[in-house]
Subunit: 319 residues, 2 copies
Amino acid sequence: MMRMNNIIKAIMGSDNFIITSHYSPDGDNLGSSIGLYYGLKKLNKKVIFVLDDTLPKNLSFLYEDIKIYKSEEIDIDDYILISLDCGDKDRLCCSEEIKKNCKMLINIDHHKSNDNYGDLNYVDFEASSTCEIIYDLLNNIDKKIIDKKIGNCLYTGLITDTGNFMYSNTNSSSFIMASNLLKLEIDKENIIKNLYQNNPLNYVKILGDTLNTLEVIEEKIATIDLTCEMFKKNAISFNDADGFVNYARDIKGVEVGILFKQKESNLVKVSLRSKSYVDVSEIARKFGGGGHIKASGCTIKNSLENVKEMVIKEVLEHV
Amino acid sequence: MMRMNNIIKAIMGSDNFIITSHYSPDGDNLGSSIGLYYGLKKLNKKVIFVLDDTLPKNLSFLYEDIKIYKSEEIDIDDYILISLDCGDKDRLCCSEEIKKNCKMLINIDHHKSNDNYGDLNYVDFEASSTCEIIYDLLNNIDKKIIDKKIGNCLYTGLITDTGNFMYSNTNSSSFIMASNLLKLEIDKENIIKNLYQNNPLNYVKILGDTLNTLEVIEEKIATIDLTCEMFKKNAISFNDADGFVNYARDIKGVEVGILFKQKESNLVKVSLRSKSYVDVSEIARKFGGGGHIKASGCTIKNSLENVKEMVIKEVLEHV
């Protein structure tokens, strides 16, 4: 609580803020950033949100009303830089100049790997999401500050980072937060529609092609492939075919699900998911990757065929 | 509240109970039945759960510790019959004799179509689930009665009937209930694993085949097919390939998703889902079916080809 109070004091005692987050922005990242942005605006602060990356279209409902700046567009001084949902200062999605020139860096995050790189740090890896921390922070500043607009942002981060309350990071407090946000009459239906009912046609088509490659090995391992050919056939880009690996893991009896995603003829991204007892981060590390115990990945320079053989051989040692 | 108090009085003043629910048991149905079963046991009541149907295997974690009776196995009198999660007395999944011989019928449900067929009725169609009503009922009897075991049952019904808190029936109170159940250290991970990470291999294969049939008509309608041939090829039964229609609806720009599921060469089950403005129950009714505004269905005796033509023509009038 003292850590949070120090951050509140710093916020209340200053006028100019730049908010930023990590590369490849996701729901929690944009939700917490834009939620805090609106909160600071309501406190009559000057605040700029900077993000030197492209933004996911399915989250455009969050940012259509605000200007998101690129680093080169801004020229202010005497500002506090607030970093949200980013475990690593090097991954902060703004220029080195902005990082260097701030009068203070406040680091608010829920990633276990965060090394407290800020001048003030609030890193709670038991929080479901950075949005849950921002919810507490704003409530601690003023119980009435969170309105429907801020609520929409925070709810988006909460449900994307908890997988609709399915992941194990879902806390009792996450549900209290959700309950209170619903009372603000947030646009829950619209959020759900934007997040989950808005798939590009070719996304569904390439999912079909991917599932047709399904193979089960010794009943414990399930693999699916996404080849360069499939990307070409379905006119969909590498980054837009995401989240398929769960279909492999979620098969009865399967412990490890693997997606082999071919980026180039000799470059394959491997996603590994386990259900109960296999530490897939250990497997990913053997191939130069990493991640979490039940969700990891690595990228291997070799043919799809060879990569599959190597990885499956390794996974077989663990199931 | 008076209605609930009358039910509580009736429960506290009696010793013998039979609990039953509707045919084709689902998560809310079994969750509320078994949750109340354990609750009544803790109140030292004699209680029997009767269900004259086969039970879904993915919910076996709920019922593996209790005996579920068939109507013909029981022979008691002076009992109260409690009907849970069933909108229609004719769909109650026990014998006519059991219905006829009870000294009182208590009807607890959340379906809008429920016609209050009980001697005592608690029908709240604003409740997310019957489990949410049982949660309130048990808490009103004794704040300490709900333990981890009962919590597992009630949480299962809550998340299956709200689609992991995504459907519009999710209330602020649903989240409070979820928050309180998490405090009881329910087996959330295990519930999620059983419900969503336990698909038969052939289920995933036939999903792939189904997605390969995807067609989009005038950018507003998406159709997918499940043919007799696919069922045969993938060795999966008609009832076990469920829930695919959402893949059609959840495409960007699509308003109506349709699944054509061929039961016999001349018999097709049609599932219709809309996203925003089309009342698909109206369309289903034209073909002798019915359902909800955004989720309806009908079964048509004709070839797959003809059924598709007829239904698409009708849907085109509405988009």
